[in-house]
């Protein structure tokens, strides 16, 4: 890839009734521009990601509205939706646009406002017959959790450790939605959402936005003395037909293989990872999809402390979806931002010492037991 990340901006994630969708997007974008040391006129192409605004806010072309308010105009603007991987898909597209020569400096904004009075996101996503019949996302992940636990002799206490870890990490992140550490007992005793997943095993609904400025890598040092380079950018869909197992996402394996080949690194080279922990079980399965553990062995990584901050390969130092929160359209860029912060050495009390290679993984939606889309981005200093 010929792309570098040079500007980072994020809002607080959580319940933010005082901020509109546009205000959230503007705040993140303004911070990203400021961090890159550039003005609105320097942006040559923009990709904006959002999932629920057409349903919850009756709004469209959100990108143009946010950018107009910032004084960014006359440029190509694309609005992207790819479920939970919307903004990582927007990041992928912005990288493609730079590779294709459509512009040298791009802005990627992810924004979502889910906590809206008298609206319910479960109503917003019931177009699929299985969802209308009750097979919601928590139910789909619960099915996987049950299969995984049965197949590999794992118990709910093991899974709960993921939530404990990510809350501990989130307590170190001033932008996280939940900053109070929790215990294994808290997780197990919270109300059941879909057996065996309890409320603290599921990511929350959130409002929030994140933005990054990227540029052609040859010009990156104009903006920052130590830019972060994109060494792999991969977007793939599932195979959908006859998934080999309910306890793996085969799209993860394919995306990881492609990303590692593109970056010329392997899982053993990673210093820090952000991945899509929408539910505790998901983090374990993604460990395996990314090659951090062999299949069936994922739980060991968290039981033995490897993926805690201070461990061998810290995963979700930001707190992840479980603790930082999960404003759908903002999550992918928030993950990229965390990895970039870590590689810059600017992650403060949650800094992974000497981090030089990092990976951001995002998954968008399910279809017939498979991922609708998986993105993997690998970054290096």
């Amino acid at each position: 890839m010929e792309v570098a990340v040079v500007g980072l901006g994020i809002t607080r994630f959580g319940h933010l009734p005082h901020l509109s969708l546009e205000e959230l997007g503007m705040e993140a974008a303004k911070k990203a521009l400021k961090d890159a040391g550039i003005g609105p006129g320097d942006i040559q192409i923009a990709c904006c990601a959002n999932v629920l605004a057409p349903n919850l806010q009756n709004e469209f072309t959100i990108g143009q509205k946010i950018l107009w308010e910032l004084g960014i105009n006359k440029i190509p603007v694309i609005n992207v939706e790819n479920a939970c991987s919307s903004s990582s898909s927007a990041f992928y597209l912005a990288c493609l646009a730079i590779q294709a020569g459509a512009g040298e400096v791009a802005l990627v904004v992810g924004v979502e406002k889910m906590l809206v009075p008298r609206k319910n996101i479960l109503d917003a996503v019931t177009g699929a017959p299985e969802a209308a019949a009750g097979f919601s996302l928590p139910a789909a992940f619960a099915l996987k959790a049950n299969r995984y636990m049965h197949k590999y002799g794992v118990n709910v206490e093991d899974l709960a450790l993921v939530a404990v870890k990510n809350r501990r990490h989130g307590s170190l992140n001033p932008f996280a939605q939940y900053r109070e550490p929790i215990t294994k007992e808290d997780v197990l005793n919270s109300p059941v959402i879909a057996e065996p997943l309890t409320r603290l095993s599921c990511c929350p609904q959130s409002d929030g936005a994140a933005a990054v400025v990227i540029c052609r890598n040859s010009m990156a040092k104009r903006f920052r003395s130590r830019p972060v380079y994109v060494s792999a950018s991969v977007l793939l869909s599932g195979s959908y037909a006859n998934p080999p197992s309910l306890s793996t996402w085969e799209a993860d394996f394919r995306a990881a293989e492609k990303a590692y080949a593109m970056a010329g690194v392997g899982p053993e080279d990673l210093d820090v990872v952000e991945l899509h922990d929408a539910f505790t079980i998901a983090e374990i399965m993604h460990y395996e999809g990314l090659g951090l553990a062999t299949v069936g062995e994922g739980v060991r990584l968290v039981k033995e402390g490897f993926t805690f901050l201070g461990g061998n390969i810290p995963v979700n130092p930001s707190g992840g979806l479980l603790s930082r929160g999960h404003p759908l359209g903002a999550t992918g860029v928030a993950q990229v931002l965390e990895i970039a912060l870590q590689l810059r050495g600017e992650a403060g009390v949650r800094q992974v010492k000497g981090a030089r290679v990092g990976l951001a993984h995002c998954m968008g939606g399910e279809l017939h037991g498979d991922a609708r889309s998986v993105t993997i981005h690998i970054f290096s200093t």
Copy 2:
């Protein structure tokens, strides 16, 4: 550009209660694959455009659902929304992806299902305060029409000719929503929607889908003996601030200048044009934006017959939005398809003789009197 169009597919446009969103998209995509002589496994990247499904159908990631049904999987899939220019923006992105080397063969699908029982698209787009207050799109275009008529001494009979022309063209298109020719009197006597625009001066709501297969131009002759080449692909946003006039869209002028420079042609070289005639006044203003007429002189083109089939520069031979119909997310690709058909010499009774250079123009949404996005694609044989 290094891109060629090698496969075309479209559904009937209109009120299609028996077909779901997915079925519409599948039908268009299947036809495009068949037309290119390829199978599902040959597609390496896909972009899908839609505007209203998250609101009207409570559905997301439509692209993956359509492609799964076709047996297209494991590839990058992006869902794009850019208001009425959604699928022309998806086409732009697919061209970028090929330019960037992300794949050699891409599928672009545009799909929309607007005529849904107990749902109203006016409710779906009232997030903007001005829309909620009654300043809907017909009202915005009526404002422009009044200003234009006042400024250039044009009357409603002149504007009505655009609807007469496009209905005449649409009567020759078996996929058009409205195939009955109309008279100037029909247009003037139809109910007023927003003074001076009558119902027949406004495009209809429609269900429908269109799809194209594009590829790296060096491989195009594997698929077709006479491919159609993309010689310019431009996407731009408006400037929003202080539009110089209510009677022009300045984004059109900027986009046209860029597209002509990219293609190395001028408006005088065009043999056929599809443009965004959402309302009669819009076609006249876009003539001027595209340089087909000088500012204030657009009406002459239709009054003197230049833009009718058989004229010097036929515009909207498909029937345009006014007659073919306007399923929002499908329109941009339907325009590309019409131009490609014309350049192949396969447009049947509406063929523009000897057409070698064509242009497709699409506009997505309004913001503060300006276009949220404008796309222009120029094609040649």
